[in-house]
């Protein structure tokens, strides 16, 4: 048995049934492209969610009347917290500088005194712990709370929670979509292969009468499935790749900065475009094609 014989059989058959071959390639292309797009998007959303979680920050404002000792005590308290990743002291001057940067010189120039309090910016390790950490500042005498409230502690509690919720929902939806399309891909490929084998069942019967072993009959079909799957998937991977690039460029040049989330960037832009995705999709396509052929052949090669 010669590999070159099987290969030429496979190519010959694809040339003869090129419409069928095209249909199979397009089927693989569509399903793996969707699969690829879903995977890339999921990957990027994950990244977005992670960076969002990382930016959950608690601002703890310090009373103007607090003594340096009290401030130091507060800092030690922050240092002692397990859930805190990092913290930064923002002095009254720093706060004013930032304010000026943001709203312009004119407003600041008219102020008789600096009304902005000093603060600590506290980063928590895990977004889910943000409440617990924040609560520890609610009754601290050094913190600039108005009596009966805890407005001296600020954190983007609701927004972040909603966003994370949305992202995890989208992610779940994506998993479901991925599953559905993976199943659809297998089904479509095996149906396409089955149709083409059904059209050639007489040939298969003749081959068997001449004394061809099952594997001798199978190989050209399997190779055909393999090649179609590979071509479709490589095209799909290229398509997803170009699509991702387009989105990355659009995000870069557009004014909206998506909460300055740095997503959909290509690897040379410092993003983590899943490089492994290309070969994964290609191998997946080729594998689907080959397995589709095998499954479809089973009926005709029983005895």
């Amino acid at each position: 048995m010669r590999f070159s014989f099987f290969l030429s059989e496979a190519f010959g058959s694809m040339r003869r049934n090129w419409v069928m071959a095209m249909a199979a390639v397009i089927t693989v292309f569509i399903s793996t492209a969707i699969l690829g797009a879903v995977l890339v998007t999921r990957d990027n959303l994950n990244q977005g969610a992670t960076s969002l979680k990382n930016r959950v920050m608690i601002e703890v404002f310090i009373k103007d009347s607090a003594t340096p000792k009290q401030t130091q005590a507060l800092e030690r308290k922050i240092q002692g917290m397990n859930d805190v990743k990092s913290y930064k002291y923002i002095s009254k001057e720093e706060a004013l500088r930032r304010f000026r940067e943001r709203f312009g010189e004119r407003i600041v120039a008219n102020l008789p005194i600096n009304p902005l309090p000093a603060s600590y910016e506290v980063q928590v390790k895990d977004a889910d712990q943000v409440d617990r950490v924040a609560q520890q500042f609610f009754n601290d005498p050094t913190v600039d709370n108005d009596p009966g409230t805890h407005n001296g502690v600020k954190y983007a509690k609701e927004t972040v929670r909603k966003m994370l919720g949305t992202i995890s929902l989208i992610e779940k939806g994506m998993w479901v979509t991925t599953g559905i399309f993976a199943a659809a891909a297998v089904l479509l490929i095996s149906t396409t292969v089955r149709l083409s084998i059904f059209a050639r069942r007489r040939e298969v019967e003749i081959m068997r009468l001449v004394g061809a072993t099952n594997w001798f009959i199978r190989w050209p079909f399997v190779l055909e499935g393999f090649i179609t799957g590979l071509v479709g998937a490589v095209l799909a991977a290229a398509f997803v790749w170009v699509g991702n690039w387009g989105i990355a460029n659009w995000i870069q040049t557009s004014q909206i900065d998506f909460l300055s989330l740095r997503i959909f960037r290509m690897w040379w832009q410092g993003g983590t475009w899943p490089l492994g995705l290309m070969p994964t999709l290609a191998i997946l396509g080729a594998f689907l094609g080959a397995v589709g052929s095998l499954v479809a052949l089973r009926r005709y090669l029983k005895t």
Binding site: M1, R2, F5, G12, S13, R16, E203, E205, I206, M207, R208, L209, V210, G211, A212, T213, N214, F216, T303
Partner: protein
Amino acid sequence: MIVFEDVIKVYDPDVVGLQDFTCHIGKGEFVFLVGPSGSGKSTLIKLVLKELVPNSGRILVAGRNLGTLRKSRVPLLRRNIGCVFQDFKLLPNKTVHDNVAYALEVVGEPRRSIRRKVPEILSLVGLAEKTDSYPHEISGGEQQRVSVARAFVNHPPLLLADEPTGNIDPETAVGIMQLLVRINRTGTTVLIATHDRDMVNRMRRRVLQLEAGRLVRDERRGSYDQVTEEVGDAF
């Protein structure tokens, strides 16, 4: 070469294919299998190829017991049996050359020997000119010669033909039959199921006659009909 012992083949709802069939066909014999439509000729040929399995009885082909022959060995059995059918059974997408070559590819024949053997056998059957034609581009008689070439290119010890001349005009049929005789002369056992009365009568070879799945006549130098003899006796 072929031994049938008390073979019974019944199709699903009580349709008899072959009934209590016993017979021996020796090495190098040339045998006609005759009988009306539905008498079991094709059934017998399919049993020899192990396309069908008998309900009971024993079948030996070239010393091999088909009852104990493993499924995976069936292709090996078939490589030792050349087959010719009424509908030619050529691969429609392959040229004349590639159809014949396929039988050699199947047994893993080296490319060099394929390049030598195929033109050789094609000129033997008189189709050297049609090497690159496709089956639909040549006549029925030519297609049947391709199928004979394919059946014989491996020089199998046994050649089965199920109505090889059924779709062919009488003159062409003679040509096909001559080919089969030539193949038989090389030592290949030939078994032909046929309705071709003239042919059988002219050749005067061993005749097996089936009737509703039973062997009703086994004659050494027989004719197509039993009646001819009875008429002869009457005179």
